[in-house]
C-alpha cells in the first residue's frame, strides 16, 4: 500500500509522513490552488508561472475540454460553449439568476438547478466547475509529485446549503477528497491573522467577480471566531461590468447585440473598469458584427456615479453584520480587503468611510483566500505541528427552518450560530388517524416560505394512527462543520424514523452524480472497475493510517485483548486492500471502523478530562 507514502525530502525530521493537501479557491472569475511547503503557504503556478486560472471552460465539438486562459480566447467567438462565471449558477434555478436574458448560453430548465446545452451535450454547473477543479488538482499533483490526500475548497460565506452542496459535488466529480468547505473571508482571515499575529476584532470585506461577503472575526489566542457574517451571493465585479456595458449600449444607441457582440462589449467594459482603477479615464472601442462601431470614453467619476448603487448594496450588509455581532464600527481593529473588485477606488472609499479607517491593503487580495485554505488543509490532513495551535470557529450564514401552515417559516437554526450545531423541535399531527407528515426545509431570513430558498422536502410515514395532537414528531437539524445540513424526523412514541441528507430541490441526486462520474470515466477511457478498486484502496489506506495515528497517540488506553482485535482488523484490511475485490475491501474497512468505536470514545473522554482538569484550577480562583 504505497499510495500515500510520499517522502518529502525537506521534511526528514518529521516523524510522520507529510500528507499532500491543498487549498483551492474556486472563484467566479479566477481560481487558484495553494499548498504549505516547508511550513510556508504558496500558490502553485502553471507552466508559464501564473497562479490564477481564469474560471472559464470551453467545450469543443471534438470532445476536448479547455480550461483557463486558452478557453478565454473563444470568449466572444464561441460564447455558447465557453462558460464563464459558472459559479453564479451553482445550486441555482433559471429564475434565480440576474440578467440571464443577456447571457449567451442555451439554458435548459429541468426544474431545480439550471443546465447548459453545449456541443458536448447538456451540462450542469457542477460538471463545469468540476472541470476547473480537475485542472487545479492536476497542477497540484504534477507540482507536488504525488497523490493528494485531500483539499480544502473555499466557498463564499454567504453561500446557502444548495450552493455548498453543489460545490462539494463538483469536487466529488473531479475525484477530490474534500477535507472541508471553508468560507472565503475566514480563509483570508487565517492567512492574514497568522501572518501578522493579529489579535482583536477584524472585518473581512470580500468583493470578487460574482459574490460579496462580509465577516466579522474575533482573533484571540489562536482562536479565529466568526461572530457574524452577511453578504450577497449575487453581487460582484461582474455587475459593475454589466452596468458599464449597458451604459455603452445606451450611449452608442445600438440595438440589443448578438451574443457574440455582447460578450465582446462586456469584455471591453471589464477592461475599461479595471483600467479606471489606475487611470482617470478609459476608452471602450469595439466593432460589432453589424459593422456598427462603439467608440466611447468613460471617466472615473462617471463610472463611480453609474455604479454607486452597487457599492451602496454592500453598505446594508455592513450595518447588519455589525448589529448581529453586537458591535459598532469603531470596535473594528482592521478591515481586510479581499477580491479583485476591492481594488476599485470608490469601493475602498465607501469601506473607509463606513468603518472610519483606511482598509488594510498589505496583502494580495487575489491570493489570500487560497493561501488561507492551504494552511487549513495542511492541518486537516494531519500535518499539524505543535505551533499550529489555532482553531477556526465558523458560523452558518442563513437561518434554517421549516414551512408551517399558511406558508410561514418556523426558524429552527438561527443565522450566525457557531458550527457544528444541532437543533430539535417537536411537532404534532393535526388530523385524527394521520399516518404521514410532510416537511419542507427552507433557508433564509424572510417570514414567508415563498421568499426563502427551498432546500428539500421529505415525508415521515408510518406514524401509528392516533388522535390529532397526540403524536410527538421530533425534527432534528444537524449542520456540520462544512455548513451542510442533514435533517431527521422521528415519531417519539413509536420510534418511526425518516431522515434526509438535504439535497434534492436545487442539487444533484446521487444517481445523477454517479451517472456523470461514469460519463467522465468513459470519456477518459478509464476502466470503471479499476477506478472503483482504486477508490476503495485509497479509502482503506486512509482508515488504516488514521487508526495507526490514533494507536500511536493513545494505544495505552486499550487492553491487550482490545489492541489485538484492532490489530487484526488492520491486518485484515491490509490484506483485502492488496487484492482486487472492491467489495471485500469495503467490508473490511467498515469492520475496522467499527472496531475502533470504543477506542474513539475513550480517547475523547481522555481529552475532555484533560480540559476539565485545566478548568478546575480556574475555579479555585473564582
Amino acid at each position: 500500500m504505497a499510495l500515500l507514502h510520499i517522502a518529502e525530502p525537506g521534511l526528514s525530521t518529521e516523524p510522520h509522513k507529510h500528507r499532500l493537501a491543498v487549498g483551492i479557491d474556486l472563484g467566479t472569475t479566477n481560481s487558484l490552488v495553494a499548498t504549505v511547503r516547508n511550513g510556508i503557504a504558496v500558490c502553485l503556478v502553471d507552466e508559464e508561472g501564473r497562479a490564477m486560472l481564469p474560471s472559464i471552460v470551453r467545450y469543443h465539438a471534438d470532445s476536448r475540454i479547455e480550461v483557463g486562459r486558452s478557453a478565454a480566447v473563444a470568449h466572444a467567438t464561441d460564447p455558447r460553449n465557453t462558460i464563464i462565471s459558472v459559479k453564479r449558477f451553482m445550486g441555482r434555478g433559471l429564475k434565480d439568476v440576474a440578467y440571464i436574458e443577456s447571457m449567451p448560453y442555451d439554458f435548459v430548465d429541468a426544474g431545480g438547478m439550471l443546465r447548459l446545452r453545449t456541443v458536448q451535450g447538456v451540462k450542469s454547473p457542477v460538471e463545469v466547475s468540476a472541470e476547473i477543479l480537475k485542472v487545479l488538482a492536476a497542477r497540484a499533483q504534477a507540482s507536488l509529485g504525488g497523490e493528494l490526500t485531500g483539499a480544502v475548497i473555499t466557498v463564499p460565506a454567504y453561500f446557502d446549503d444548495a450552493q455548498r452542496q453543489a460545490t462539494k459535488d463538483a469536487a466529488k466529480l473531479a475525484g477530490i477528497n474534500v477535507l472541508r468547505l471553508l468560507n472565503e473571508p475566514t480563509a483570508a482571515a487565517v492567512a492574514y491573522g497568522l501572518d501578522n499575529a493579529a489579535e482583536g476584532v477584524y472585518a473581512v470585506y470580500d468583493l470578487g467577480g460574482g459574490t460579496f461577503d462580509l465577516s466579522i472575526l474575533k482573533l484571540s489566542r489562536g482562536i479565529f471566531e466568526v461572530l457574524a457574517t452577511n453578504g450577497d451571493a449575487a453581487l460582484g465585479g461582474d455587475d459593475f461590468d454589466h452596468r458599464l456595458f449597458c451604459w455603452a449600449l445606451d450611449q452608442s444607441e445600438i440595438d440589443p447585440p448578438s451574443s457574440e457582440d455582447a460578450r465582446r462589449l462586456l469584455l471591453k467594459a471589464r477592461e475599461a473598469k479595471e483600467l479606471l482603477t489606475a487611470c482617470e479615464e478609459a476608452s471602450i472601442k469595439a466593432t460589432l458584427g453589424s459593422g456598427e462601431k462603439v467608440d466611447l470614453v468613460v471617466t472615473r467619476d462617471q463610472f463611480a456615479s453609474m455604479t454607486k448603487h452597487l457599492v451602496q448594496k454592500t453598505v446594508a450588509p455592513m450595518r447588519k453584520v455589525l448589529r448581529d455581532a453586537g458591535l459598532a464600527p469603531e470596535d473594528i481593529k482592521g478591515v481586510v480587503m479581499v477580491g479583485g473588485a476591492t481594488r476599485m477606488p470608490h469601493v475602498q472609499r465607501a469601506v473607509a468611510e463606513f468603518f472610519g479607517q483606511e482598509p488594510l491593503t498589505n496583502l494580495d487580495p487575489d491570493k489570500v483566500v487560497a493561501l488561507g485554505a492551504a494552511i487549513q488543509a495542511n492541518v486537516l490532513a494531519g500535518n499539524r505541528k505543535e505551533e499550529d495551535d489555532w482553531l477556526l470557529l465558523d458560523v452558518i450564514p442563513l437561518s434554517l427552518g421549516l414551512e408551517m401552515m399558511g406558508g410561514l417559516t418556523e426558524k429552527i437554526v438561527p443565522r450566525n450560530s457557531t458550527l457544528p450545531i444541532a437543533r430539535a423541535q417537536e411537532f404534532t399531527t393535526y388530523k385524527d388517524g394521520q399516518t404521514a407528515m410532510a416537511f419542507h426545509v427552507v433557508q433564509g431570513e424572510r417570514e414567508l416560505v415563498a421568499d426563502c430558498r427551498s432546500l428539500a422536502r421529505f415525508e415521515l410515514r408510518g406514524i401509528p394512527p392516533m388522535a390529532a395532537g397526540a403524536a410527538r414528531i421530533r425534527v432534528t437539524f444537524q449542520v456540520d462543520a462544512d455548513g451542510l445540513l442533514s435533517v431527521s424526523a422521528r415519531e417519539m412514541s413509536s420510534g418511526v424514523e425518516a431522515s434526509v441528507l438535504v439535497k434534492p430541490s436545487y442539487g444533484l441526486t446521487d444517481d445523477e452524480i454517479a451517472g456523470m462520474l461514469r460519463d467522465g470515466v468513459e470519456r477518459a477511457s478509464e476502466d470503471i472497475d479499476a477506478r472503483a478498486l482504486r477508490e476503495q484502496q485509497v479509502e482503506a489506506d486512509r482508515v488504516i493510517e488514521a487508526t495507526l495515528v490514533a494507536l500511536e497517540q493513545d494505544g495505552d488506553l486499550l487492553s491487550d485483548e482490545e489492541r489485538a482485535a484492532i490489530d487484526a482488523a488492520i491486518a485484515e484490511t491490509r490484506q483485502t486492500a492488496a487484492g482486487h475485490d472492491p467489495r471485500a475491501i469495503k467490508r473490511s474497512t467498515e469492520a475496522l471502523s467499527r472496531a475502533t468505536n470504543e477506542f474513539a470514545a475513550r480517547r475523547m473522554d481522555k481529552s475532555i478530562r484533560a480540559a476539565l482538569a485545566g478548568h478546575k484550577v480556574d475555579e479555585i480562583q473564582v
Binding site: 489566542r221 482553531l391 477556526l392 457544528p420 474513539a600 475532555i608 484533560a610 480540559a611 473564582v622
Partner: protein, 177 residues
C-alpha cells in the same frame, strides 16, 4: 466509565452553578474544549472519532450559547433547579409591569410611525439600561436569596423586554433600508 454528553453545562465549563459567572473563564474553557473536540482536529482520524467529535463540538457550542448570554443562562439555571420559568404557559404578570410595558410599546410605536430613528435609538439605550437593573435583581434572587420562584417571574419580565428590544431593532433596520 465515560463522560456523559448530557452533563450539565456549568460542569462542562468548570463553573459553579450560579447566575453570576466569570465570563472570561467561560470563554477560556469554551476555547479550550473546542480546541480538543472540534471536527477540524479529527479530519484525519477514523470516522468513529469524527462522529464523536461532531457530537461533542455540537454539545460544547450549545453549552456556550446557553451560558454566554444572561437570559438563556438564567432559564437554564432555573431548569436545573427544577423551576420551569413557564415561558409559554404561566404568563400572569404583575399589573404594574404590564402597565410599564404598554407605555414602552406605545413610545416605540409612535417613534416608528413618525420615522424617528433618533428617538428609537434613545429608547433602545434606555431599555438596555433598564434591563441591566433588572438583571441585577435577577442575580440577587438566584445567587443570594435563592428565590427561584421570584427569579422565574423576573425572567419572564426580561423576556418581554428582550422582545421589545428586538422590535426596536427591527424598526430601526426598516428605517435604515
Amino acid at each position: 466509565m465515560s463522560i456523559d454528553l448530557q452533563q450539565d453545562f456549568f460542569g462542562l465549563f468548570g463553573l459553579h452553578r450560579r447566575f453570576r459567572i466569570d465570563e472570561a473563564a467561560l470563554e477560556l474553557a469554551y476555547h479550550d474544549l473546542q480546541g480538543r473536540v472540534h471536527p477540524d482536529r479529527f479530519a484525519h482520524l477514523p470516522d468513529s472519532e469524527k462522529r464523536l467529535s461532531m457530537q461533542w463540538a455540537t454539545q460544547v457550542n450549545e453549552g456556550f450559547r446557553t451560558l454566554r448570554k444572561p437570559l438563556p443562562r438564567a432559564i437554564y439555571l432555573l431548569e436545573l433547579m427544577g423551576v420551569d420559568a413557564g415561558l409559554h404557559t404561566n404568563t400572569a404578570m404583575s399589573p404594574a409591569f404590564l402597565m410599564e410595558q404598554m407605555e414602552w410599546r406605545e413610545a416605540v410605536e409612535e417613534a416608528r410611525a413618525a420615522g424617528e430613528a433618533e428617538e428609537l435609538a434613545q429608547l433602545h439605550t434606555r431599555l438596555r439600561q433598564h434591563s441591566r437593573e433588572v438583571f441585577d435583581e435577577l442575580a440577587q434572587q438566584c445567587d443570594d436569596e435563592h428565590d427561584y420562584a421570584g427569579a422565574a417571574e423576573t425572567v419572564r419580565r426580561l423576556m418581554f423586554m428582550e422582545k421589545l428590544q428586538h422590535e426596536i431593532d427591527d424598526a430601526l433596520e426598516a428605517l435604515e433600508s
